[in-house]
């Protein structure tokens, strides 16, 4: 896992996003147990307190829940994961469209360009 961090945002928030991405992408499957705070902290090379805070953030969003003694588990609510996945993709696309528009591309021009690139890649 690579952990590239943005200097202007809290570390825990960025770590929470990275773990969320691992859940959305299926690296951590629905209903399974997350590694311990300490393991995750060691992987991410951050302080366990920071990892704890990041996981609390994910708990608040409902993506993970903690079982008192046995650790933290990923939600089994596949619809919720799917919805987050779509939200994340939508954000990415909006950002991309904004960048394209700042370069002078209208949305339909951008779409044409995407289609052209996809065709090239397929051939």
């Amino acid at each position: 896992m690579t952990w590239i961090l943005d200097p202007s945002r809290p570390i825990y928030a960025q770590i929470a996003e990275l773990v969320r991405l691992d859940i959305i992408s299926g690296l951590y499957q629905p209903g399974t147990k997350l590694p311990s705070v300490r393991e995750l902290a060691a992987q991410a090379k951050v302080n366990p307190n920071t990892m704890q805070k990041a996981l609390t953030e994910l708990e608040r969003s409902g993506l993970v829940h903690s079982m008192r003694t046995s650790g933290r588990f990923i939600t089994e609510d596949i619809d919720m994961i799917q919805k987050m996945k779509e939200n994340l993709a939508t954000d990415q696309i909006r950002g991309f469209l904004e960048k394209m528009s700042s370069m002078g591309f209208q949305p339909q021009d951008t779409l044409k360009l995407i289609e052209k690139i996809l065709k090239e890649e397929q051939s």
Binding site: W3, P7, S8, A41, K45, V46, N47, N49, T50
Partner: protein, 232 residues
Amino acid sequence: MSTILQCENLSKRYGARTALDNISLKLDSGRIIGLLGPNGSGKSTLIKLINDLLSPTAGTLLIDGHAPGLETKKIVSYLPERTYLDENLKVSSYISYFADFYGDFDTSRALDMLQRLDIDPDLRIKTLSKGTQEKVQLILVMSRRARLYCLDEPIAGVDPAARDYILSTIINNYDENATILISTHLISDVENILDEVVFIQNGHIRLQAQVDDIRCNQGNSIDGLFREVFKC
């Protein structure tokens, strides 16, 4: 959260030179705290006062309610700036010395860390590279179950790979109730493992804040803020 360290109006003068000027500081348990400042700012002086290697000129310093001395040495684990390991001794001798000196030393933990690093305890210190010597010293210090760890420039003399090892050793051995005070000027390397920072300059505390608060409020990394505050 309990207080592990408290300084009030603490000063240290060396003759006419003031190294620490009337500082007041409170550190909580269960934190990893960066003591950050340029060279000559007073970092090592503060750490030496905590470890009873220097006496304050004025003011008080309490560790878990005790002035530095026998009681505090039982709960403070100290990594000095320079290693004090005798080159002619074996790594294993130091393991037994530490086990003998400190009631909270965990021998199996130390041996385990040495093994993971492929360091043979039967080797003499002088046969080890400088970086390996520093790792041995860190292993000794981190194998104690202390309440307060004072690490004075733990990553200054080693390569980036060894730096990563040292930082992960610190994270992995950190007990939730202990506090780790790390003095360094290599801020970007330690930034992600810190909860809190104390900026020190010319013997004064310039700032004490939570890392995430600084990032939120100033929109800047600790490294960036440090460069701003201590701009030459």
